[in-house]
């Protein structure tokens, strides 16, 4: 009986255990890894992937996928740059990119729910379209400067030793966990991902729920874009190149099924942390860039294999 409980705990928190294991191994084997400075850095870096992963998890739980986040991430930073050029208003600089990105998410949601196009294709097209618009606005990929000092606090400031982006991320994750577990919207997401037809039959407003998951995904990406703009003091459309893959990897490492219906908000944060730690270790070890991909990919593959062994029983159940 006790054995069974431990097993359930392990399979539910496999990602957290992986994080702890990697942390311990890295602390022993990598010099300079175990320091407060490095940990603060880790959390700063994780915050962006983590915040995008919140929206992504909602989308993936409803059996969708959002590939446009990478482009949207860069676009949000460009928006910050443009607003800082004309208005110099911190509040607008934070709120406008989020609204605009949510608007793009709404368009994606419209295409997915009303036009019934596969989310993979819609977001793929959106990725191209958003990058195109961004290039148009910035005359082919110029960097826009962000000079407002008070705005930079979002990314560079800290309360005590905890950096503000990490606080934003953790707060967002707490809200998202509550939404996904204890609200009608969250439960509907799981129901839709589990069985779309059954959800329709049960009277769940499937289209509305799906639509809002894409809006949330857009808004979260906007927030992450604001943070990156504050962190690099600039807005550039090319910032988010390939970011969508990091985000999806983080979500899947968190045990969320791409088929939908199963997943845990908090685990996505641990997944994002794993991705960042791997990058961090490679940086600290000063690995040749020739090897970098092999190590990142190899570790990802190894974690996936271990995770699949842990989850196998649940996975088979969820699939059949």
């Amino acid at each position: 009986m006790k054995n069974k409980r431990i097993r359930t705990f392990i399979s539910a928190n496999a990602t957290l255990i992986a994080v702890v294991a990697i942390l311990i191994i890295a602390s022993i084997t990598v010099n300079d890894f175990f320091s407060i400075n490095n940990f603060v850095n880790l959390f700063k870096q994780t915050s962006m992937v983590g915040i995008i992963a919140i929206g992504g998890t909602f989308v993936i739980i409803t059996a969708g996928i959002d590939l446009s986040v990478g482009a949207l991430f860069g676009f949000a930073s460009v928006m910050v740059g443009i607003i800082s050029m004309y208005f110099e208003n911190d509040f607008l600089m934070i709120i406008m990119p989020i609204i605009v990105c949510a608007g793009f998410g709404a368009f994606t949601g419209f295409c997915v729910t009303k036009l019934r196009i596969e989310p993979f294709i819609v977001t793929l097209a959106m990725m191209s379209a958003i990058r195109g618009i961004g290039l148009l606005i910035t005359n082919g990929g110029e960097s826009l400067m962000v000079s407002s000092d008070s705005f930079k606090i979002i990314a560079t400031g800290s309360i005590g030793i905890i950096p503000i982006p990490a606080i934003i991320m953790i707060a967002a994750f707490i809200v998202a966990t509550i939404v996904s577990k204890y609200t009608i919207f969250g439960r509907n997401c799981y129901a839709i991902g589990g069985n779309n037809d059954a959800a329709i039959a049960a009277g769940i407003p499937v289209n509305t729920v799906k639509f809002f998951t894409y809006v949330i995904s857009g808004a979260c990406t906007g927030l992450a874009g604001v943070i990156v703009a504050a962190r690099t003091f600039s807005g550039n459309i090319l910032l988010g190149d390939g970011y969508e893959m990091d985000v999806i990897a983080a979500i899947v490492l968190g045990g969320t099924l791409l088929q939908g219906g199963r997943g845990n908000m908090l685990n996505s944060m641990w997944g994002a942390l794993i991705i960042t730690i791997i990058g961090n270790i490679i940086n600290l070890k000063q690995v040749s860039y020739l090897w970098e991909g092999c190590i990142t990919g190899g570790l990802l593959l190894a974690i996936l294999v271990v995770q699949s062994r842990m989850n196998k029983k649940q996975y088979v159940l969820a699939q059949s």
């Binding site: 196009i117 294709i121 020739l290 991909g293 990919g297 699949s308």
Partner: protein
């Protein structure tokens, strides 16, 4: 609540009609979009009607056709492979380096294809045995293989000088480029494979319902592994053809972004991403649509930023025309008929 025979008949009739229409859209939607694009181009683009345009269209789409054919089967078994670009790069690099060291060209190509097949088989076995979701698995493989390709060549561009190697995509018979023959061979052989063999039917069965396929005695594991193996070998072939045309092999740039182009082509062609019937002919037209967009952009000198927007719009519209009238309409019609009957019953009460 009882529904009379007549009403059931009406519902069936309506849904059958919608089903027919959806089948029509799936079969001919891509061709319609292609025809529209062709007409627009004939009107808008200067010098569009010439043999050079057709020549370029064929040469440009060969690599995508090669990969998209394999991708059709992978997507038909409800899988996906985004590592094809990296596989292309690795196999092409290995082949190019072997050719540089003056091994016989047949051996080089054979090793390249073998490597591609091996990579594909590895992905297939991992998805089947460890039930890792193909999207993330191939994402990890994409990172590894791209890095491996750089390691093999030490991140240098390999020049290709062997005339036999260059002949793989440099030969032409009079006006006809050899790529046309490749495309014809691929299309015919894969069309036969999809439509007239047990393998093709098994792929369709697995895509529709893997549990049912297993229960009806299909060796689904073997077939899924073989499908990935096929795609791996085809990616290797595409890589070899691509570097042979470019006359050099840069491991960082060969095949970058081709996975998304191939997937878009397959979906425009009418193969459902949740699995089902592999539509080889549709895929071919999808590839031509992707190529014609690129050519339209190049020949009109459209700015990159605008061309990205254009591409996005055309993809969305093409997929909408091809799939929007699909199952959704069937459901809506069914729902409407049902509502009518249900409403009638309520009125009776």
């Amino acid at each position: 609540m009882r529904i009379s025979n007549e009403e059931t008949g009406m519902m069936n009739n309506q849904s059958a009609k919608a089903l027919k229409r959806s089948e029509f859209a799936k079969k001919y939607g891509a061709i319609m979009v292609f025809a529209i694009l062709l007409m627009v181009n004939i009107i808008v683009t200067p010098n569009f009607i010439s043999s050079i345009t057709i020549y370029n269209l064929i040469i440009h789409s060969t690599t995508v056709v090669c990969i998209a054919m394999g991708m059709t089967f992978v997507i038909a078994v409800a899988g996906i492979d985004i590592s094809v670009g990296a596989t292309m790069s690795l196999c092409a690099t290995v082949t190019a380096i072997m050719a540089e060291n003056e091994y016989p060209i047949v051996l080089c190509v054979f090793i390249g294809l073998l490597l591609g097949g091996g990579v594909g088989a590895f992905i297939g076995v991992m998805t089947v045995k460890y039930t890792i979701q193909p999207m993330v698995l191939t994402l990890a493989m994409m990172i590894i293989l791209r890095s491996a390709a750089r390691m093999v060549s030490n991140a240098k561009t390999v020049q290709i000088v062997d005339p036999n190697f260059l002949g793989i995509s440099g030969t032409s018979f009079g006006e006809i480029p050899i790529q046309l023959i490749y495309i014809l061979v691929f299309t015919i052989s894969f069309f036969v494979l999809a439509e007239h063999t047990v393998f093709g039917k098994s792929v369709e069965a697995i895509g529709n319902n893997i549990t049912a396929a297993k229960l009806s005695g299909i060796f689904s594991d073997r077939i899924v592994v073989f499908v990935y193996l096929l795609l791996g070998a085809l990616s290797a072939l595409a890589g070899i053809m691509a570097v042979s045309r470019m006359q050099n092999c840069n491991p960082s740039s060969v095949g970058s972004g081709i996975e998304l182009e191939a997937i878009a082509a397959v979906v425009i062609g009418g193969t459902s991403m949740s699995g089902g019937k592999p539509r080889v002919m549709g895929t071919l037209v999808g590839c031509f649509i992707m190529s014609i967009i690129t050519m339209m952009v190049n020949m009109n000198g459209i700015d990159t930023a605008w061309s990205m927007l254009l591409e996005a719009a055309i993809i969305i519209i093409a997929v909408y025309i091809q799939s929007g009238k699909g199952t959704s309409v069937k459901k809506v019609k069914y729902q409407k008929a049902y509502d009518k009957i249900a409403g009638g019953l309520i009125d009776e009460k």
